[in-house]
Point group: D2
Chain length 364, copies 4
């Protein structure tokens, strides 16, 4: 562990050296494993009885509910969010999808494949001649893992004791009608960008950086934006650009080694705040939003009694019926310092889709 800590310090130092303005932090940063250790005896949120049923938000919107925290957003909140549209500027936050899009299914090459149909015929009669009464057509197929590129995790992605959120049955290869992409229908909300990388003066944040709840609050404050109940929070770590970093030999790195290091992410100390604020969804420009993903080799997580899964995934998805959006492209929003906006996710209504690639839209 000693060597890991050393490496972290080195990285922080490097990050600080590379990043431009006043590095407000670094020295003050407690090491991630100390933060993890500190929470070792905290009870996991999902072990605390819920107000409406056995867990967090189970039963809150009835036993048949499939949309979870999306029910928290009232028509009034939607009207207010639409009121944020003042400049008529639109930001597509989804990554372009192709065979080598950012993903975390290492080192599989199976991202998205678009197969163009071999049309089989060219209506041209002679080379260079065309029949004015005809034209050509083409079509395509797509084969994609549903958790590559910018994507939404649905309730079926994480489950415990053979139940999904709200006591729904687990997914099956056919006939799944709970916890899938089709159940989401849509997400229209107020969106807030928290550019933690900018606030911390490290862009990207260092590998394995634990974003604390104070980092989130202080970033909002520095940005002069208020976090409100029912918001969708988008956290910027700056990690996105790591996908295309060259390898150790300076050449293009098809294995994306740098990206696939333990990423900076939101630590579990933020969970109770996010719960209090009734956050509907959290997204980030990294692979899993949360801290310690992928797990450092040889590391055992200590928070919540040494819980071995991803705590934010379990709390958001299974316990609270909230959503996680991964691998967002937040750079244009950050550049424009666009910190609040109307946020729209229009997922493909994949029946049985456990997660779904999306192209979220921010409008302001």
């Amino acid at each position: 562990m000693a060597s890991l800590k050393a490496a972290f310090v080195a990285l922080v130092t490097l990050g600080a050296a590379l990043s431009s303005p006043a590095p407000r932090l670094a020295m003050a940063q407690v090491s991630p494993d100390q933060l993890d250790e500190k929470m070792a005896n905290d009870p996991a949120p999902w072990t605390v009885p819920g107000k409406w049923g056995p867990r967090g938000n189970w039963g809150r919107w009835g036993e048949q509910d499939k949309r979870g925290m999306l029910n928290f957003i009232t028509p009034e909140m939607i009207v207010q969010a639409a009121g944020l549209v003042k400049q008529g500027k639109v930001y597509p936050l989804g990554e372009e999808m192709h065979g080598d899009l950012p993903r975390f299914i290492t080192p599989s090459r199976f991202g998205v494949q678009v197969v163009i149909e071999n049309d089989g015929y060219d209506r041209v009669t002679q080379p260079g001649q065309f029949d004015p009464k005809r034209n050509q057509g083409a079509a395509s197929y797509t084969i994609m893992h549903n958790h590559v590129g910018t994507h939404l995790d649905t309730f079926a992605h994480i489950y415990r004791e053979n139940s999904l959120f709200n006591n729904m049955p687990p997914p099956r290869p056919a006939g799944t009608v709970h916890g899938d992409a089709a159940s989401v229908k849509f997400m229209v909300a107020r969106g807030v960008l928290l550019d933690v990388a900018k606030y911390k003066g490290m862009d990207p944040l260092p590998s394995n950086y634990w974003i604390t709840v104070d980092d989130l609050k202080n970033t909002a404050k520095a940005q002069n934006v208020e976090i409100k109940k029912g918001d969708v929070l988008l956290v910027r770590t700056g990690w996105r650009k790591m996908w295309d970093q060259p390898g150790a030999d300076g050449r293009a790195d098809p294995a994306h080694t740098k990206y696939l290091q333990p990423e900076p992410g939101v630590g579990p100390d933020a969970l109770s705040f996010l719960n209090e604020m009734e956050i509907v969804a959290i997204g980030a420009d990294n692979a899993a939003v949360e801290w310690n993903f992928p797990l450092q080799p040889g590391y055992t997580r200590r928070a919540f009694g040494g819980f071995q899964g991803l705590p934010m995934h379990v709390d958001f998805i299974w316990n609270r019926g909230a959503y996680i959006i991964e691998i967002l492209n937040l750079d244009d929003l950050a550049k424009d310092q666009a910190y609040e906006f109307l946020f729209v996710v229009a997922p493909l209504l994949l029946r049985g889709g456990i997660g779904v690639p999306v192209n979220p839209i921010a409008i302001r």
Copy 2:
């Protein structure tokens, strides 16, 4: 042809008999083939020189432009469209996607397949016992034709003389970067629903019904909604429900015979009006938006000198750089008489995707 006309009259009569209130039309309806014949000598819009280049809107936004009519929508128009959000009500207009979703690739069964990953392990140690430190996870793949269910046709779908809109190169199985779904980025606009089925008092409109430009204008008038420049028009034919109609033997019909009849659609007499109004996209709740799809057996189209393709597809996609959205679910909008709204399409940014399934969102 006599028998086809007879069948049409019979269908119209039947439609009138089945539909509820005042059937405002029927008797007055000119037969589709007369309308088609009437336009036989009209020049096709794409044979008329364009103002900015060799065709319609070619060159209008520069030689490198890949978004066509989406450039027509100004920030001001977006702000105004967002101003239509007054009730905070959201309508997802995409069909649920599964193996038997509405489509027009007859009689292929290949719609969308969601394959759930065989997780391969159950972290449960004993049946009925669970390890509190662990949880289960699942994921899925999707394999889909890009022109099934609710989908957007992109510029690469229809081309002539080996060129796409704006003189871009035709699609290839790899490396396509023009005219694909990724080039669309997003569509945010004012949306207008024209419920022609309701206006005509036939829901659905009869098989092969030619929706005239007057039908469109009169529907707008009857709905008390104005068609404005830069709008996205959504035309409701009522055809959607035909997908699930039983077969001749009264049993479930896996071949969807009734749906796959020639569908009602917008006739080519509307093209010049749609061009004048700078319509950015047109959508409908049928398979191809336009009239005479699928082509009646044995019928030869006569408009525009007997052009054998789909005229609206060629004019919108190839000539004007406008968009077509097919197989929309417009029933909830129609029920609420929601005739204008903020309209958002957030397509997956499929590089090389010729068309892309979408879940358009209407907000009002």
Copy 3:
């Protein structure tokens, strides 16, 4: 029906005129619908009680058996079949697999798609320069319908009363372990080619030609080859070449209209002979081996009390546990007059594969 008969006579005449040597038949051929009518009162083989269980070969090799007639082939028969290898000549009988391979899932374009992985990197340092310590690699994916090109129908393909052959459960999207390609393991047998097209002097046999049991026997006799118990019979109709026939306008026909006519095939009068001879598998160079596929529009089959399915499929697959191999390439065998050989099918052991594309090998 009168016009269909007339068309058939015309086709036979045309076939006779086009084909080269002594047209031994034609005039004598009874029309297919007369042959069909003649069998209208015959009991279907699968309605007759079996010797070992409720149906044909059910229970013959035990209740758990998954390989059916393949059990009939003894080690001695395999040694004898290997003894047919005298010239050391090998014939691959599978069609090449690509996006437009012969198939009968009209007019879907989804045959086989091979997607080559975008390697993502070129280890070349400078254009034209190479690093001698490295090399490039590539890989591919395949997406295929399992009943396109040359393929084997497995027991799960045809079932009745919710049971497969030998009372096995029907296939499910996950967990299928009966009646699938993995259960076949291998087929090694004596193979016999019956070149009916050559024998009849019509190559191809006309559309919808009913190959009678006498055609099969007489072809064997004319070829001086004996049909033996446990054989795999390969029937050549000459239909294969129809796939690439141009359309009515003389241009390449992407819809493969001529191929997709009702094909010549083996009539149900052959079933009792094939059963007596314990034929393990039957294959052909057409889409379904048997007569009246695809069904002529408007025609109702009459044999076996008007059974509406494909009788050979039901008898072979469901009743007898025998196999059907479709869309074989038999032209090279025919050219060499290679009428008996060692026949090997080595199917991919797809668990849950209902049918499997194959490349059968004949060796002599």
Copy 4:
């Protein structure tokens, strides 16, 4: 490196302790990295000029040849191989294909997915009642990486200087007609099993064990079987069973950690012998046949001047036009001490398929 050597010795010792009879070796085994070092100055076979053209077998069968070493097998050799069939016993050597089949694309879950078509209709009118004139049908799709389970590497898999074997062009996403599965057509040969695991008395051979050329020769001698020119050699390492080994916690290991260690394999000292013997193809029950796959972390290969690729892959596939077959199931052959047999590979003729899953058949 010291620790690696220590680990190796430990493993060898463990292997010796676990394996049953006389452990003929162990103590005598030189460590793999010493063997590797010893060959550091040997010229790579593919840098030596060929007899018929610039490289190994380039030009040997003409400039247009696509089948390479398969041309070496004469009809006489095929007749002799068929003469090995004396017992009529058949061995399918392909693994069953499903979502978690053995593969080496860690830790991707994308093996083979068989998607059963949702038939969409049940011809049963009432539950428990059936229509005797009808039956049910089902079909399936397969989506597979072409290098999972038992598979054949084709010429397009490994290339250098933008050329395949015999100076053919590299593969492309569409239109590939060289070096693909379709070009192989078939493989019919004498097959020889070399059960090195048995000979060495370690089953499996230890992780990263270097199978020397003497191991191959001595195994053949011990088995009393002669290696002949034009043979297909199948090398048994015993590694296959590692796929299903439980993880460190004794539970089922979905990551297949033990299998994915550096596997035992044939070292590059065997290449000149395999070339002299004109070996057409080599296969094994491990992931890459050859030694040091996957590469041990931190290890740099030293043979052939520190060549960084897989030397056997380059020599067999690129230099000699020979074939490699991976992840074979050789256990049944080994159990029967079946050391020579007729060997048939009938690959799907995938146009553009770089590699192809196969079910090779041994008959004796």
